[in-house]
């Protein structure tokens, strides 16, 4: 009966082989499995929603949209075409066409790629009629950014095509799509862009579309982008940009009671409309390659300058908080401060007090180096080890948001530098450093570095007498609440009582006949400020000024940096006070000062810095 058993055995054997093979094909991962929605049976089309608009705090439209047309290609659908005619229509050369086709094929033969982006309306009208001749190509309507006001490109940012890196790391984006790559466009990308709609279309093997895939079960409708209202006051922003004409630097103004950024100026600037349209890449490279004036660098956020004299306020507050000085403590200044035994260990001072008693108030409005060097030294030397003193000082200064990222909704930023004990231990191994080694920190030189926004935020914290709100750029997103971190105050380590004497000193900077900013006093405005002149390795000193106004219930806190502007009251003080006046009063009383700022140029100064490479 052996013969009877063989055939049933073979049948079962074949059955087992089939099931094993089916298991391999249908369950185990193998090369036959197609990626979802990326197979020839289904065509995917996208419906792009309109990108959200951007307004300023007074509902002035800053960013809108305009329509453009992209030529898309699905390489596998392309049949032979009259390349010359097509290239003429879309205005590219044959070589460009071939290169772009090759790139599209490399990306995917089935998923559409952008062949030519942002066709003009005229070209589109012409092409539309002939499009039926070119199988595999189609026109995708897309909306593009438009900037009604030529201002604040550093704040608004721009959108550009996604690069390979983004495509690989973010499943949402396909080749040729746009993404915010700088400024608010970048930080609020997901809110502004909305969500594209997807349609899946069933195709048969001849590539003919035969209806929606599964009756549109997986299709999604586009979700419109949200509009955003910025904290920027575009009028003030434009005014500040005009005042800064032909000068480099950064201005940041903050509303102390909210942390809202009123202006964020970086000079030199450029027309945001340069970043739109077919000339975009040309314009971009031109800006990008300008290594001297660096227009793409947001100086308000990224430029780290030595803060200079405004930083003396930190030394005073730290010393008051540590109880090493009182408002009545006296320092005698004889044209400088000797911090060591050697000849060189001498810090010059221009307070012109000639050995008379200098107390806190006068020290501030005369900006006495000797006073604040003493105050700084006393803080450090209060502790047995300079390491601990340094850390105590660092803690107070950093509580003003200096020396660290502000962690806000701006696309870029810099930490600046507020040294601590570890910093110097690393610098001087074996602890061979003392207060006198680091004495320059006390007057905002030395190792200390800050960005304009950090300094503006510090000013806001002083104006608030001890707390600040994280500076932020978005005031309102339609249908959304502002992030809680922007509405909760952050307190400094300095007691409120220590601020009043300091603010009195800042007020006297304008009010005292020999205050350092006396020349820019505005009748009827109670401005508190501190001038600064920062030495730097690039050339002339930077002109720096911080201020807030009015003295009580301050509405604006501002920090102005003018690169290589000689000294504080030469550029930074007039610009800051003009802006404060403009913001608080809406009109300018000092027309000649304004004209002087409009027309003043530091281009000659900057030209000196250009490194000329001699060729032998």
């Amino acid at each position: 009966m052996k013969r009877v058993g063989l055939f049933p055995f073979l049948i079962i054997f074949i059955g087992v082989i089939f099931v094993v093979r089916l298991f391999y094909l249908q369950i185990l991962p193998n090369k036959y499995q197609l990626p979802a929605f990326n197979n020839s049976a289904i065509k995917v089309t996208y419906d792009y929603p309109e990108r959200g608009f951007i307004y300023d705090r007074n509902d002035v439209l800053l960013v809108a949209n305009q329509l453009t047309y992209d030529i898309m290609v699905i390489p596998r659908d392309v049949i032979e075409l009259d390349t010359i005619e097509f290239c003429n229509l879309i205005k590219i050369t044959k070589n460009e066409f071939l290169a772009k086709m090759a790139k599209a094929v490399k990306y995917s033969t089935r998923i559409p790629s952008t062949l030519v982006a942002q066709l003009s309306k005229a070209d589109f009208a012409f092409l539309q009629e002939k499009m039926h001749k070119f199988k595999g190509f189609y026109i995708q309507r897309r909306s593009l950014r438009e900037y009604p006001i030529n201002s604040a490109p550093n704040v608004l940012g721009y959108i550009s095509e996604v690069d390979d890196n983004i495509i690989n790391n973010n499943a949402y984006y396909q080749m040729g799509e746009l993404i915010g790559t700088a400024g608010v466009e970048k930080t609020y990308e997901e809110i502004l862009r909305g969500k594209k709609g997807v349609k899946f279309i069933q195709r048969n093997r001849f590539n003919k579309e035969i209806g929606p895939y599964k009756n549109g079960l997986y299709d999604t409708l586009p979700v419109a982008g949200n509009d955003i209202t910025l904290t920027i006051d575009s009028k003030l922003q434009q005014y500040g940009e005009a005042l800064m004409a032909n000068k480099r630097g950064g201005i940041v103004a903050i509303e102390p009671s909210t942390g809202e950024i009123l202006t964020l100026i970086s000079m030199p600037t450029y027309d945001p409309n340069l970043m739109v349209g077919r000339e975009r890449s040309k314009n971009f490279s031109k800006l990008y390659l300008d290594v001297y004036s660096k227009p793409l660098l947001d100086r308000g956020l990224q430029a780290q300058y030595p803060p200079g004299s405004p930083f003396k306020i930190m030394s005073a507050l730290a010393a008051l908080q540590e109880n090493v000085i009182t408002t009545k403590s006296v320092v005698y200044c004889f044209g400088g401060y000797k911090y060591g035994s050697s000849e060189k260990a001498f810090m010059k001072c221009h307070c012109d007090t000639y050995g008379s008693a200098v107390m806190l108030d006068k020290a501030i409005y005369r900006s006495c180096n000797s006073y604040f060097a003493t105050a700084y030294r006393k803080v450090i030397e209060k502790y047995r080890k300079p390491y601990d003193g340094m850390n105590a000082w660092n803690k107070h200064v950093e509580s003003f948001g200096l020396g660290k990222y502000l962690n806000n909704d701006l696309a870029v930023g810099q930490k600046g530098l507020i040294p601590n004990g570890d910093f110097y231990n690393k610098f001087y191994p074996n602890g061979r450093w003392r207060a006198s080694t680091t004495i320059s920190n006390g007057i905002g030189q030395g190792e200390v570095l800050t960005t304009p926004i950090q300094l503006a935020n510090m000013t806001a914290a002083i104006a608030n007498r001890g707390f600040y709100f994280t500076p932020h750029i978005v005031k309102n997103i339609r249908g959304k609440n502002l992030d809680k971190k922007y509405t909760e105050p952050i307190y400094t380590t300095i007691d409120t009582k220590h601020f009043d004497p300091v603010i009195e000193g800042l007020f006297n900077v304008f009010e005292q006949p020999n205050g350092t900013a006396r020349g820019s006093r505005v009748e009827g405005l109670q401005i508190c400020g501190k001038t600064g002149t920062a030495e730097n390795p690039h050339g002339q000193d930077h002109s720096i000024f911080i201020a807030f106004a009015p003295k009580d219930n301050p509405k604006i806190a501002i920090a102005v940096f003018v690169e290589n502007g000689y000294w504080g009251s030469r550029w930074a003080v007039p610009i800051a006070t003009l802006m404060i006046e403009q913001y608080l009063k809406g009109e300018i009383s000092r027309i000649d000062t304004q004209e002087r700022m409009y027309n003043g140029s530091l281009e000659d100064e900057y030209r000196k810095q250009k490194v000329v490479v001699k060729r032998n």
């Binding site: 049948i11 074949i14 059955g15 249908q26 049976a41 035969i210 209806g211 599964k214």
Partner: protein, 426 residues
């Protein structure tokens, strides 16, 4: 006592009928899913469509079944020779009156539809083989009988190869299971199996590697016999060595036949199967589409009418030879496995029924039915899931097509009819 006199359905094997009905029903559902167009979505039913036509053929096959049940079972044995001759003549007639579809002259045009005689010649051959082996005088150990049986198979097979439809002709090879069961000597059978194994291994690994492998296996067997079965070795070493040299000759001839006798499209099919060429566009298109479609079904499948590759008509001939892809895509691993299981149980049931026959005629016929269905099942699904080369033969009871459906129905129900009569045959 109830008997056939009261009821023509008396004594029929209900399990087999149930299997038949299930397969027909599932088959039609999948034909429906394959041939309905996406825009229709079942709103209008039409007999002009393929699923509509198949329904007519299913209805007509019930008429055929009634007819078979009305016949006396002894008629099948009595008229087996005549049926065989008529069928052979109808195959010959194709060369004169036949209609050429897709390069093969396999159909008679009957106006509204076509008839494919090769689907019925299987039945006729099975009947003729049963009648031949039923003769008590014959013994399959004798060469004379072997030649008679071989001729019986070769005549229709060669006629079908000439159409040309080599796939359908391959089915006649399945009678080796019947002959083996009825006493064909082992070495004929093992010779067939050995040739098949050597043929495939040579194509996959090349003749040199296969020869090295053969020498190794032969050496191993010799060593085993020398150590443990020295008597058997003494008795049969000449035959062993002879078999070895014939195998070597065969291996060399495979490459020669493959390169010189086979036509290019046959070679292509083998090369694709063994992945010697990577081709998904032209010649490998069918296989690639079919495997991809099955793979896309996953574990549970996409559901009835939810397969986008079926709906998109990606697999050519999906309603006929590639109907299993529809099952794979829509019902997934679960559904495919269940269908494979149904076929296996169905064929095993037929063997069981064949074995319980008291007449040799019925048993041989039953075995022939099992062998034919098994071959169709193995070759068809094996091709669709990519483990056999492309050979176009239908999946029994499943594939679209009237002739095939009727051929298989007649084949099966003659067995059921014979089986229903077993109690009378003493």
């Amino acid at each position: 006592m109830r008997s056939r006199k009261d009821n023509i359905f008396y004594g029929i094997d209900r399990t087999l009928v149930l299997f038949y009905l299930i397969l027909i029903f599932l088959g039609w559902l999948n034909i429906y899913a394959t041939t309905i167009s996406i825009s229709e979505n079942g709103d209008s039913f039409s007999f002009a469509t393929e699923y509509g036509k198949q329904l007519i053929w299913i209805a007509l096959s019930f008429v055929l079944i009634m007819f078979i049940f009305l016949l006396e079972s002894r008629y099948f044995e009595k008229y087996a020779s005549i049926i065989y001759v008529i069928t052979v003549l109808s195959l010959v007639g194709l060369f004169v009156f036949g209609k050429n579809i897709n390069g093969a002259t396999s159909w008679y045009n009957l106006g509204m539809t076509s008839i494919q005689p090769s689907e019925f010649s299987k039945v006729a051959t099975a009947l003729a083989m049963a009648k031949l082996l039923n003769d008590k005088q014959l013994n399959l150990k004798k060469t004379n009988t072997q030649i008679q049986a071989l001729l019986l198979l070769l005549i229709p097979a060669i006629l079908i190869i000439l159409q040309p439809d080599p796939g359908s002709a391959l089915v006649y090879g399945s009678f080796i299971f019947v002959l083996y069961r009825e006493g064909l000597p082992v070495y004929h059978f093992s010779f067939g199996v050995l040739s098949l194994v050597l043929f495939i291994t040579t194509l996959i690994f090349g003749s040199n590697n296969t020869i090295i492998g053969a020498i190794a296996v032969f050496g191993f067997i010799l060593l085993y016999l020398y150590l443990y079965r020295s008597k058997a070795l003494k008795r049969g070493w000449i035959r062993m060595v002879g078999a070895f040299f014939i195998s070597i000759l065969f291996i060399f001839s495979v490459e020669f036949v493959f390169n010189n006798v086979f036509e290019q499209h046959h070679r292509d099919r083998f090369n694709i199967l063994f992945e010697k060429t990577e081709d998904t566009k032209s010649i490998g298109y069918n296989t690639n589409q079919s495997i991809t479609t099955i793979a896309s079904g996953g574990f549970f499948g996409k559901g009835f009418l939810q397969g986008e590759r079926t709906q998109g008509d990606f697999v050519p001939a999906q309603q006929t030879d590639y109907i299993f892809t529809t099952v794979g895509e829509q019902w997934g691993f679960i559904g495919s496995t269940i269908l494979v299981a149904i076929f296996i149980l169905f064929i095993l049931r037929i063997i069981k029924i064949a074995e319980r026959q008291k007449s040799k005629f019925s048993r041989v016929y039953g075995y022939s039915v099992a062998a034919i269905l098994f071959t169709h099942f193995t070759i068809n699904i094996g091709m669709v899931i990519g483990i056999l080369p492309t050979i176009g033969i239908p999946l029994p009871f499943f594939s679209y097509g009237g002739s095939a459906l009727w051929g298989f129905t007649v084949l099966l129900f003659i067995l059921i009819r014979l089986d229903a009569n077993r109690t009378y045959e003493w």
